[in-house]
Each structure stands twice: as C-alpha cells, then as structure tokens.
Amino acid sequence: MKFILKTVCISALLFTANSAHAQSTPNEEVLKAEQQRIATIERASAATVAVFDAAGQGGGSAVIISSDGFALTNFHVTAPCGAAMKCGLPDGNVYDAVIVGIDPVGDVGLIQLLGRDDFPHAELGDSETVAVGDWVFVAGNPFLLADDFQPSISYGIVSGVRRYQYPAGTLLEYSESIQTDAAINPGNSGGPLFDAQGKLIGINGRGSFEKRGRVNVGVGYAISINQIKRFLSHLKSGRIVDHASLGAIVSTSEDGRVLVDDILETCDAFRRGLRYGDEVVRFADRRITSTNALKNALGVYPRDWIVSLTYRRDGETFDTSVRLMGLHDESQLVDLIQREAEHPSEPSPGELPQPKGEEKPKPVPKLAPAISKKPKLPKAVAERFTHRRGYANYWYNRQHQQEIWNRYRAIHALEDVGPNWNIQGRLTDEREFTIELSDQEASIRLPYGQSGATFRGDLAAQLSPPGSGGLLLTLHLWQRFLDKGLRQFGEVVYLGQLPLGSGEEPVECLVGTYGGMETRFLFSPTTGDLVGIDLFSGDAVDPCSLRFSDYGDLDGRRLPRHWHVFHGDQLFAEWQVDQWKFE
C-alpha cells in the first residue's frame, strides 16, 4: 500500500510536470478532433433509451430511430415486459412505451415511446460498409448504472464483420452480426452501436462470455442495422415476425462445395429448378462457400423476401430468384414465444442476461413473470394496444391497413366502381384483347383464344386462362377487395414491405385471405398506387402476378395503363390498356 501511494504521488507530480511542458500540449487538430467526438457522442446519447418493465424493474437499453418515438431494442429485453414499459431518456424524463412488433429469431423488438412527436433520434447508417478496424462506440445502460438515464459510453473497434452466431436455445440466431471490442455488458442489451460519425450501425445483444462470468471479455455482437432495415416495416406491422428459410438443406462436401442434401418440393426454390445434389454458388449476391455462409446470408431476410440464387448442375450454371419461405409456421412461432414467456430459459451462452436490482445478488428463480402479474396498462399505452394471437400488438396492424387502404381509395377515386368492368387494349404486338368482368363471372378474349371463369363454388378451380395462374380470378378478387373493403373481404393483414423481385425496392403488402387463397395487394410506399397483385391459389404453386405501371387517366380515374401478367417466372402477357369502362 505504501508503495502504491508513493507511485500515485509520483504520477501526480509527473502529470503536473507534463502539462507544464510545451511539448505535451496537444495541438489544435487534436483538440478539435476531441471536441468533435464529444459532440458526436452527445448527439448519439440523446437518442439512447434506458428500458425498464412497467414496474420499473429489470432493464436494458434501446435507441430511438424516428421523431415519433419508434425505438429498437432486443426481443429478450421486451419479452419480460409484456405490452408496456417505462423508458428513461438522457433528458431525465421517463416516458411510457408500448410494444409494437417483435422478431424473436433475430432478437429484435420495436417499441414506441409515447407523449412527444419530437423525440431525438439516431440516424441509420449502412452496416454493409462497416469494416474491421472501424472505430465504433456503444451507448446504453450497463449494470443499470445510470440513475439519471445518461448512457454509459464505451469505445472500440470493429473486430469482425458478418459473424454468424449459432441459435441460442430455441429461437435466437445472429446472422451477419458485427463483432466489436467496445465493452458490451449486461444492461447494454438492445442498445445502439454507433460508428465514429454517430450513425446507428447495429443493436447490441450478445457477447462471448463462457467461463469468465457474465461481463465483457472483449467480444460483443450487434445485429446489423441493414438486417433490421429489412424487418422494420414488418416490425411496424405489429406482428410476430419470422425469418426465412430456403426450403432446402445443404452440406459442405469434401471438396468444399455446398450441395443440396434435401429440398422441400413445395418451396419456391424447387419450382425455380433447384434439386437434390445441385451446388449452391451464390445467394443474395453473396458467394456461398460453406453451409455457414448460406445460413449467415439467409438469416438477415424476413420470410417472403425475394433474393437471387445461382446454382450449378453438371457444369451448367443457373441464375434465378426465389421467394423465401418461413423458418417456422405461424402457430409454431407463437407457441415457442408463449413457452418462452411461461418458462423462460436461462440466458443461454452468449445471450446477455438482464441485470437484476441490487437487492437480488443471486440469479433469481423465474416466477412466471409476464403471465401472473397483469398490471393495468397506462392510459397512453392502452390506447395503442390491441391483444390478438399471433401479434405483438394488433393495433399497429389495423392502423397500417387503414392508412394504405384510405390512401389508395382516395387517390384513385375507386369508391363506387361497381362489379362490371370492361377493359380493352393492345398486346405488345398491337393485337387487341378484351376483358369482361361481372360479379359472377369473367371472360377474356385474346388473339389466340378466349376463356372464362365463374366465381361460384370452388374458386381454386377457376384458374383460367390456362398458363396465367388465375388472371381472371385475380381481377375478381381485386374487384371484391374494392367492393367489400378491409372488413368484409375476408381476413386482411398488413405484412410490411417486400420487394417485387430480387434487388428491387420493397413495396407495402396487404394480404387478404378469401376462399382459402391468399391474395397480396402491393402498394408503392411513395405514390400509394397499387403496383401489383399476387394470387396464391395453393401452398405449393406459383402465384399469378399482376404488375401495374404507367398510371394515368382512364374513364376519369387514376388507373394503371401498362400491365405485366406473370405466372411464376414466366411472362403470360404484357399489354397497354386503352379503354376501361365501369358500368
């Protein structure tokens, strides 16, 4: 001890000596850089949230991403909270927050802070450009240290990119995550990882701990923001969001090729030609060199996303794009979450545990948290929460359905179109076509033939004209949607945004279920126009896909004048509409 004191004294003396010395005065550049960093951290801190459950216990971190209070966190932070949580901001205020959507597989939760429309928020970065060696910093509430909600900051570098973390327990799986040596500790869960410019590049959620106890050992993982961007609209839909599966099992062969071991005959990849024994070469613009590489590339997409796929067979290479299927079926996912809520598993290796209050020094036995205690929801939360099986919060789904629907009806003046449509136009070779539609039946006259459909009884049998996958039925369901609206069409769900093809801009997707078939109505998020309809007449068949463009005036209404009709990846027809009559 004596020695230590001595050293401290000497150190103090040296410090004084140093600061007096001209050589040690940092130059302007240095001071400027330091000021910049302080400003960046201050700006980023303002959007960093300390999350507690409704009783003010437990906790984790989050980050606000828009002025209306939407904030990203981990699913494992929101899970014990139920519908409502309390959120502390660095301004010292505590806000009510409501659960919006969850992605249990990706460990992401979306919440909304309530009570303001001018929340400070983080700017989203591009995690694709993040490289090993980049400076980054972590903000959050490790060990629940901050009573005044000023986040703790730790600084470090990116240690690895595109790291794959095996599923922990039943659900969690981290794909293409960012590995950093900036300290991530219990309580940092759900908090932001910023780049040196203060842009949000990831959500912290895991660490490698193993035998050294549950504190930072120089290895933390963040879910990349680009993955979250794809899921964001799905999370905003209030649903329990699922990840994607290719529908095929692959393994790495002796010579290092990734081969299909097994494939579901019902999946889209099978319909696009992928078979047992084929070599997977590229997936979603990533070269696939191992089974892990495929899992990694796959894990960052929501189900139903469309990605490019390149495979090789007998020396021949095939390029296609596939619509990804779900990793779980819906009820399976709900059951897993339910089970997790009733019997939460111990935080598995790697998952950041929730720090407990000081009065609980030991790991506490889990006492059925969310289920037994059902505190009354705060008023602001109750106004924005609707419980429904399969949803985190159905209120948000209804909200989006209405927004999209109202906008569509308003800009297109389609309130009173009635059931009788007459559409005429020209194919690309200038030959003419005519479609006649009534509420009971429809017919189409093409230069190469005529066909019709009736809409009584089994709709799934009415897939004419042949090769279209059900063009007339699709038009009928469109008409029904306009006529009956959100409430009476059948069950309607807002899915989120999905791309129309691989690499294309995502569009808003409303799914209507009627007659045992799923119809997807796709809307441009910018114009509100209906840009496409997909009719899935069965689980294992290609949809009939209509794609609309060249919106303009027809019969005094704003309507699409250029149509493509696809069945799977086959173009059935392309035409220009000249005349569209509603009677």
């Binding site: 020695f3 230590i4 050293t7 401290v8 000497i10 150190s11 040296l14 410090f15 140093n18 050589q23 040690s24 940092p26 130059n27 550049e29 240095v30 001071l31 400027k32 850089a33 330091e34 960093r37 490289a131 090993v132 060696g133 980049d134 400076w135 470090g156 570098i157 240690s159 690895g160 595109r162 790291r163 590995q179 040596d181 040196a196 490698s208 193993e210 035998k211 050294r212 930072n216 050992v217 120089g218 290895v219 290092g256 060199t289 191992s290 892990n292 590489a293």
Partner: protein, 369 residues
C-alpha cells in the same frame, strides 16, 4: 488505473521506469486519437494485411473448458507456423486454416516447453504465403497502441479472418502467473495489455503495432498468482527468431528460461519437477503430463504418461486427491510414489532440492533476473 496494474503485477524496481514511460506515452496517445480520421483507412489496410498472416488451428480437446482450437502465426513463406504449445497440438489430426479458407494438415516440428511455444509446418507447394518475418519483429514502449489478432472463442471459421481487438501496452514486466494451481513455466518479461486479448482460443495469436509489425505472441490463459485475475499478455517477439531456429534444429530448449522457483510451504509436484495432466474431470486420473529435465522427478526416473496410484502407500484416484495428499506434506519431505507404467507397478522415492529464492526490495519473494 496505474495502481491497478501494479496490483496485478509483482511490484519491483522496474516499475518506476514504466511509470515515467507511461506518462510520456499517454501524451503520444492523444495525438493518435486525433489522427483517427486519417488513420481509419490505413488501419483497415494494416489489419487486413495482418489477418492474412494469422491462422486458425484445430486439434485435440473439446472437453468442457478445453477448447479444441487455438491460433497461430505464419512465420515463413513456406508454411512454418508459430503457435502455443498446448494439448490442442496433441493429436495426429491437426488442421490449419488460413484467412482465405485454404486448409492444411499440419506437422509438429518441435516445441519450446519453457516458453510454451511450438512450430508447425504446412506442406505448401508454392512459397507464397504471407508471413511475419521474426527478424523484423519490433519492441514497443509502454503506452503504445497495439492490435491483438486471434481466433478467440473460435469465432472465425473457414475463410473468415480472425478477430482483432485494439488496446494499449500497459506494462512490460516479468510474468507471475498460474494455471489452475500450477505456476506458469515462463517467468520472463511479457507485455501486459489493457485489452481482453487472452481468451479461450487466442493463444498463439499475433500482437502487432499500428504499422502491422509483429510485436508479440499472445500467451495461453493464465491468472495472476497474486490477485487471481485473468492476465492479458503477450510474449515479446523480438527474441523469437532464435527460439524458432533452435526448435527447428531440434535443440533441447528446456533450459532456456531460468528455473528458479519461489519457496513453497507444502510439497508440490512442481517442486519435484513434474506436472499432472489438466484437472478437467470430476475424477481426472493423475497422469504425469510432463517432467522437467534434471529435476528430482527426472533423476528418479518418472516419465510422461506415468499414472500415480499411491502416495506413501495411500491410494490416489484423482488429481484432486493427489494435490490433497501433497498439501499435507512439508516442502522438503521425502515422498514415495507408486506408478503404473505399461502394466507394471513401480516405486520411486523423491525429495525436492533446495531452491534459491530471490528477494526484492519490498521484502517479498519474487523473480529474477
């Protein structure tokens, strides 16, 4: 923070000098921080180049607490790899994977048990591998920024490059550490780091400066003998060229580092000159893992892979029982060990020899030079 470092390490005369250097270096450090923006691109490039010289090694292990992987560095264009000497290498099926996914079966050329280093060889066809030239390894000052590259926790697989962590050299000091209850063999000077570099799987990784020059080799997981905290350290690389030459030449290297040990109160395997296998099972059979040459155990005729069955006629069934039995005996007591070797029961009588302890200014037993 300075105090903490001192607590971690044995205090000794060299500390004062470190202290002075530390402060000077901390001024240098500020300049580094300011230059981050311009350094960014260079740093990424430096790291990418260094990652290409660090390999992932897979071998024996897999039991709880004994990872079957570690790290190594390429030290020649023709496939020589320097790594930590450990149980991972104790197999005929040793796989080395480069950062571009290329994979080789490695051959163990030799080892230095004192430094716990080993040299492997990959049968590469072209002499075109990226490598660290040990002749060009540099020394760093306390306070200097460094990067630790390793496959800690086995995070990287296949063609993934190893992980990189950044930190500062906080001290250069003799290693005073233990593994379990055994004292580490290497006692010479190491770089102590402020970054959690020595994680499972990190041993054999590279410590480089910001120009990507080799500074040290990350050591195995060790705890401080004084505080029990996990140490983060690297063996300085500057002397390793000769060590590697000696290993490749097949020289006996056991004597390289001073063998003086501090006085122990009770009898220990170490004081007799042998080590048991790592105690990883509820009842790990007390096999002898290694015997130090020219030690009492060596002279008495004990060998690696001998199984100890009796200590002074008392049956011994596990490593724990062995340590317990020894714990009751005085340091200089004569002890008889019954050994099972190739089906035969052999008896040996051993006694520890006088050890020369070095006492430093603070009056504590410490280590030389």
């Amino acid at each position: 923070m300075i105090c903490e470092i001192y607590k971690l390490l044995r205090c000794n005369r060299r500390m004062l000098a470190h202290c002075v250097r530390f402060h000077i270096a901390s001024c240098v450090l500020f300049t580094f921080l300011a230059a981050n923006a311009t350094w960014g691109a260079n740093l990424q490039q430096t790291i990418r180049e260094a990652q290409a010289k660090v390999v992932k090694i897979y071998g024996a292990g897999g039991l709880r607490g004994m990872e079957a992987y570690q790290t190594g560095i390429l030290i020649s264009p023709s496939g020589d790899v320097l790594t930590a000497l450990s149980y991972v290498l104790d197999t005929d099926d040793l796989t080395v994977i480069l950062d571009d996914g290329r994979k080789w079966q490695a051959e163990l050329l030799g080892s230095d048990p004192a430094r716990e280093l080993a040299v492997l060889h990959l049968a590469v066809e072209e002499q075109s591998l990226n490598y660290f030239d040990l002749q060009e390894a540099v020394e760093v000052e306390v306070g200097q920024r460094v990067l630790a590259l390793s496959n800690l926790y086995g995070i990287a697989t296949g063609e993934e490059p190893v992980s990189v962590l950044q930190g500062v050299v906080t001290a250069e000091a003799p290693l005073d550490a233990r593994r379990g209850s055994e004292r580490s063999r290497y006692r010479d000077s190491v770089y102590i780091l402020d970054v959690v570099a020595n994680n499972p799987g990190a041993a054999g990784g590279a410590l480089v400066d910001w120009q990507g020059r080799l500074v040290g080799v990350l050591g195995k997981e060790l705890r401080s003998r004084m505080t029990g905290t996990w140490l983060n350290y690297a063996l300085p690389a500057k002397d390793l060229a000769q060590v590697v030459d000696d290993i490749k030449a097949g020289k006996e290297l056991q004597q390289v580092v001073g063998e003086r040990v501090a006085a122990e109160e009770s009898l220990s395997a170490e004081s007799l000159g042998f080590q048991l296998v790592p105690d990883v099972l509820p009842r790990t059979p007390p096999y002898i893992d290694s015997v130090r040459p020219d030690s009492p155990a060596d002279r008495a005729g004990l060998r690696t892979d001998d199984l100890i069955v009796f200590v002074d006629r008392e049956p011994i069934a596990s490593c724990k029982a062995f340590h317990r039995a020894f714990g009751f005996r005085e340091f200089d007591e004569l002890v008889s060990l019954s050994i099972l070797r190739d089906g035969a029961l052999l008896e040996f009588h051993l006694q520890a020899e006088e050890v020369q302890a070095v006492v430093d200014d603070e009056g504590e037993a410490g280590t030389g030079p």
